[in-house]
């Protein structure tokens, strides 16, 4: 909320500088986000001297002036042709600046004549009501200087973030009252003169038909008002607070809203059918063209102010176009009410319409302060719109506000704060918050009606602590049981995976949980694929962030693309994040690991050795990862995933359950995404792994230092290209070879001079006995036997 200090000082004597006041407010819980001088914020408005004045024949209404700011010269078109003359010093608003009435100043061209700014009247400069004369300066005024500096004018404004519980601070008077509470500076109260007169009998009828929606309603009629432009002080203050002036009656309602925080509404009484003001629920489908030019359709949940025929106002939020006060209005009905904050809030949300008025009603207005607002408005209307008469102030208050009684003991303060604030201070503070009674050791406080944020004892603890000063309360360490739980298996495993992958040279990425639905289509998924059954966001921030992801692959590809368009083609990244599937109530959330390898692997850069990532880089990373997690994951060749190249992919299985995929992305998909090939990707369902990890874990096999030496024999042969290595491995394991320790794939070769259908393989067999050193002869025999069996089984040719 904007608080102009010049206005605030009408209600309280400000004994400190703007910066100090800001600090006081901030440290009391009302964060001052900014202190600015509204004049300075308008932009470059400077003193200039008119050098020459031209009246080109093709321009009728305006003349062209050549001016200088002491350094440069500009040309400015002005309609004040009778006033400008060479040598005159005036105020120039340069392009990019704003006039006081929020008009943006821009470079304009009229028939090839260029206007680089605008001469301001005192009104447009925000200095006085004078609109027709230009603001002028003495001949010797320094040129090119801010006019406000020259005139020694400033308008400091505080921008305060008022927390939602303190609706009572949404006004100048409210802020003054709070400053009085904090500092003790003297508060100035309102005094009334004619507004206190009784007035004529009310010539219409007001009825609250919905007491749940409207707790209090005050109204008064003014006859013979002159609707016109407001006096300058009102216009200026509205602008200072960011509001636009409309006419004197509407402006007075806004002025009082800013001043005391009570929203008011003014009706054209002659437009009110049957002279009846009815506060009722809207009829279903009831329509109203409102002041913002939008026609809205109401439901029974909306509260309206109606006349005998129709709805006139969406209560507490915005008025109707028809019944509003305009230039020709002669009789005004003024409303000051207290509506149910919940109703206003929900109505305002349903219609996506938040106004200065609804904002204050939602945050609770002061039920006992409403007459004050009505009187203040009356006073101003009498002074400014000079009505010929006014009615009595009707006040309907069927269920008066009952202030709560809050009981609290000094012990409670100490228990919550962990510190004893002197009883005197507590009592002094509570007295400033409401009516205090002390019985035995118990404080009984009935807070003032504007402090509706005070409901429970804890609220009073905060008030006392806050006014005592949070920094005056000591810092202590809690005394608690020396007991703590270890992180869960999920947390520990995730940390371990991240550390391992970091150690393998991968970079972790974090991407948005929402993705573009189209990217899933680009992955070529079949219609039945459960990854297409996405959770949609009702109100996405953009279409490319409109569904919850069901796989990490799109996100990783996006990162690859972002990098590729910014000169990074080589990438080794991973992400651990959630994917989401629809469920009845919330969502089925699973933690996934995604890995992407793309471009070249950098090895020994200064020896000039580089190569492209291949499938075995990805497989190796996964194998090492699973090995470290003590998981026996099976890499089943030929993934069934529609976006992976069949011959370069695996599905990953653990205990018979598919837990992931790994492979090269199909070329046509990469083309669709405009990514260079190849790209290798893996995705692993960690939630599934965590479940399996909880069930069983591969036991560690402990190797002791060998007592006897090992020995090896190599077997080389040619065999059919099609036979996979895994088959050889499982055949060898099935042979139950005595003293066999392990098998190594020593060499693998395809190409000339080997026949096209064959590949050459060299296997190294390691042997060892736990009891003795093996003899050459017996190992030779073993080698012969194995070779024979392999050659026979695979129809291999010895080399």
């Amino acid at each position: 909320m904007r608080v102009p200090l010049s206005w605030l000082s009408e209600f309280i004597e400000l004994k400190k500088s703007p910066e100090e006041i800001a600090e006081i407010l901030t440290l009391s819980g009302h964060e001052v986000e900014e202190i600015f001088d509204l004049y300075k914020r308008l932009g470059e408005i400077v003193t200039v001297k008119i050098l020459e004045v031209y009246s080109p024949e093709d321009l009728k209404e305006v003349v062209l002036c050549k001016v200088t700011d002491g350094r440069d010269t500009f040309t400015v078109l002005t309609s004040a042709k009778d006033q400008v003359k060479p040598g005159l010093c005036v105020a120039l608003a340069k392009p990019g600046s704003y006039t006081f009435s929020h008009q943006k100043v821009e470079v304009k061209e009229v028939k090839n004549y260029r206007s680089e700014g605008m001469f301001l009247s005192p009104f447009e400069a925000g200095i006085s009501e004078e609109k027709h004369a230009l603001l002028t300066f003495p001949k010797d005024v320094p040129l090119g200087r801010s006019i406000y500096e020259i005139l020694n004018l400033e308008e400091p404004v505080l921008e305060i973030a008022i927390t939602p519980n303190r609706g009572d601070l949404l006004s100048l008077y409210g802020v003054a009252r709070e400053l009085n509470l904090i500092t003790g500076w003297e508060l100035k109260t309102f005094t009334f003169d004619k507004a206190l007169l009784e007035g004529e009998p009310f010539s219409g009828e007001i009825k609250i038909l919905e007491e749940e929606g409207c707790f209090r309603y005050l109204g008064r009629i003014f006859r013979g008002v002159k609707v016109s432009e407001s006096p300058f002080f009102i216009i200026k203050r509205l602008f200072l607070c960011g509001l636009r002036p409309i006419n004197n009656i509407v402006d007075i309602t806004n002025y009082v809203l800013l001043e005391v925080g009570q929203p008011l509404h003014a009706f054209d009484w002659k437009k009110i059918s049957g002279k009846q003001i009815l506060i009722r629920r809207a009829k279903p489908g009831e329509k109203l063209l409102m002041l913002d030019g939008v026609e809205r359709i109401f439901t029974e949940k909306d509260l309206v102010i109606a006349d005998a025929e129709k709805a006139l106002v969406l209560a507490g939020i915005m008025g109707g176009e028809e019944s509003g006060v305009k230039e020709n209005t002669e009789e005004v009905f003024l409303e000051a009410a207290w509506f149910n904050p919940k109703w206003i809030r929900l109505s305002s949300q349903r219609h996506r319409l938040s106004t200065e008025s609804s904002y204050r009603f939602e945050r609770k207005v002061d039920p006992e302060g409403i007459p004050l607002a009505a009187l203040r408005a009356t006073e101003l209307i009498l002074k400014i719109a000079t009505p010929t008469g006014f009615s009595q102030l009707v006040d309907l208050y069927p269920r008066p506000y009952k202030r709560p009684l809050i009981k609290i003991t000094p012990k409670k303060f100490a228990k919550i704060l962990g510190f004893e604030i002197q009883k005197d201070f507590i009592i002094e503070t509570l007295k400033k918050l409401g009516d205090l009674q002390i019985e035995n050791e118990t404080f009984k406080l009935i807070p003032f009606s504007y402090r509706q944020d005070l409901e429970i004892p804890e609220d009073l603890v905060e008030e006392v602590a806050r006014l005592y000063g949070y920094d005056q309360i000591p810092d202590t360490f809690p005394i608690a049981e020396l007991k703590a739980k270890a992180p869960t298996l999920e947390i520990k495993t995730e940390r371990k995976i991240k550390e391992l992958l970091k150690g393998f040279g991968l970079f972790e990425v974090i991407t948005y949980s929402f993705i573009h639905p189209e990217i899933l289509e680009k992955l070529n998924l079949s219609k039945e694929d459960e990854r297409l059954k996405v959770l949609e966001i009702e109100n996405p921030i953009a279409s490319h962030l409109s569904v919850m992801r069901t796989t990490l692959i799109p996100s990783l590809l996006e990162v690859a693309k972002f990098n590729a368009t910014r000169e990074v083609e080589d990438l080794a990244i991973f992400e651990i994040g959630k994917v989401f599937f629809p469920e009845k109530e919330l969502a089925k959330e699973k933690v996934h690991l995604g890995i992407l390898l793309k471009g070249e692997k950098k090895l020994l850069p200064w020896e000039g050795y580089k190569r492209k990532y291949d499938l075995f880089d990805l497989k190796g990373i996964l194998e090492e990862l699973f090995s470290a997690l003590k998981l026996e994951v099976e890499f089943r060749p030929f993934s069934t995933e529609p976006f992976l190249k069949r011959g370069f992919s695996y599905d990953l299985y653990l205990s018979g359950i598919k837990i992931g995929l790994a492979g090269a992305i199909k070329n046509f998909i990469l083309e669709r995404l405009d990514l260079k090939r190849p790209v290798f990707i893996a995705e692993v369902n960690l939630s599934e792994i965590y479940n399996l990890l909880k069930e069983k874990k591969k036991p560690l096999k402990i190797h002791k230092p060998p007592k006897f030496p090992s020995t090896f024999r190599d077997i080389s042969f040619l065999l059919d290209k099609e036979i996979p290595f895994s088959e050889i491995l499982s055949y060898v394991n099935s042979l139950e070879i005595p003293y066999f320790e392990k098998l190594e794939l020593l060499a693998l070769y395809e190409g000339p001079p080997i026949p096209e259908t064959k590949k050459s393989i060299t296997l190294r067999f390691w042997f060892r006995s736990e009891e003795r050193t093996l003899q050459d002869e017996e190992v030779n025999t073993l080698q012969d036997e194995i070779a024979k069996k392999i050659f026979e089984y695979f129809k291999a040719i010895p080399r």
Binding site: T163, R466, E508, M548, V568, I573
Partner: protein, 337 residues
């Protein structure tokens, strides 16, 4: 051989050995004195012509001399070898090393880990929770009913199935309290979502929630723990300041500022000239929240806090645009190796 001759031989041999310039010279001297035909060997051989008494005394002295020379020779040889090695020409030592590959964890992960580590030390248990939440856990149970204006503070993403994306990590307070019995201390990191985006806001960001419930945990304790946290993460000299604030789920409520790390509290653009940076919101758990999880409010009390991970990472690493975290450009990620 007379004792004087023996003495002269020793002196000469030692002098020559010690002046050997290289291994070849040294070898020649070894042959000269200790070789098969060397002077010492010859002298030992000529002992046999001497009378027994003399043989004993001269023999002992000669053997002693032989040992001394052999020892001296060994030492000399070692030192010449060392000198030679030192003269060996090396390689271009300024070339970069052959590095094992090393990636990096995301700066936000690093920040979350650091925050959690501090609280884990204090016996807080790390918990996690769902990102898709119900209105009840995200708002109502936290004393933010449907009509509450505080809902304006958190622009919410709704899903078409009626659920929402949690707007803060606070629902984990509720879940943790329901799953446990007091006393308890938890710390809950995670992703949160709000529908706004600009240089300072991202539609997805991270928070860490903390909660301590006990029978006497007080506002002073809250101040103590959070001041400790600020000094742990931003350095021992960090000053902290507590300001009253408002959250529907805490009472009293506070916001904690730290002295600006950029300008050291003097005032700069980053801290809007105030010298302070706001880093977290906290407060004593509101009785309504305790009631929502059926805790006896006459017995249990405690504090809760929530902090923005991006905010802390931006302060710690001097980053001015939140979007950098989610662009994941490799150059950016490599900065955190």
């Amino acid at each position: 051989m007379k004792p004087e001759e023996l003495e002269a031989l020793k002196e000469r041999a030692l002098k020559e050995l010690s002046s050997a310039k290289n291994l070849a010279d040294l070898e020649a001297l070894r042959v000269k004195y200790l070789g098969k035909k060397g002077e010492i060997t010859q002298a030992l051989k000529s002992l046999k012509d001497l009378p027994l008494e003399e043989k004993k005394t001269v023999g002992a002295k000669l053997n002693e001399l032989k040992e001394i020379l052999e020892e001296f020779y060994k030492e000399k040889k070692n030192s010449l070898l060392l000198e030679e090695e030192d003269r060996e020409e090396g390689i271009d030592l300024t070339l970069p090393g052959r590095k094992p590959e090393r990636g990096a964890l995301h700066p936000l992960t690093q920040t979350i880990e650091e925050i959690c580590e501090i609280f884990t030390r204090l016996g807080f248990e790390v918990v996690t929770g769902p990102e898709v939440e119900s209105d009840h856990y995200n708002f109502t149970a936290l004393n933010i009913p449907e009509w509450h204006p505080a809902r304006d503070m958190q622009a919410t993403f709704y899903l078409k199935n009626g659920a929402l994306l949690r707007t803060h990590t606070s629902p984990m307070q509720i879940r943790a309290m329901l799953e446990r019995t007091p006393p308890l201390r938890i710390i809950a990191p995670g992703k949160v979502y709000r529908c706004d985006a600009d240089v300072r806001h991202s539609p997805m960001f991270h928070q860490v929630e903390g909660l301590m419930i006990d029978d006497k945990t007080s506002f002073s304790d809250l101040k103590g723990i959070l001041s400790f946290f600020a000094r742990e993460i931003f350095g021992e000299k960090t000053k902290v300041r507590f300001r009253p604030s408002y959250f529907p789920f805490t009472e009293p409520s506070v916001e904690m500022d730290i002295s600006c790390v950029i300008c050291d509290g003097k005032g700069c653009r980053v801290c809007s000239q105030t010298g302070w940076l706001e880093i977290l919101g906290a407060g004593m758990v509101h009785p309504e929240v305790l009631k929502a999880v059926n805790y006896d409010i006459s017995k249990w009390q405690g504090f809760a806090f929530g902090l923005g991970v991006e905010r802390i990472a931006m302060i710690k690493f001097g980053i001015d645009d939140i979007r950098l975290f989610f662009d994941n450009h490799l150059n950016f990620l490599e900065s955190f190796k």
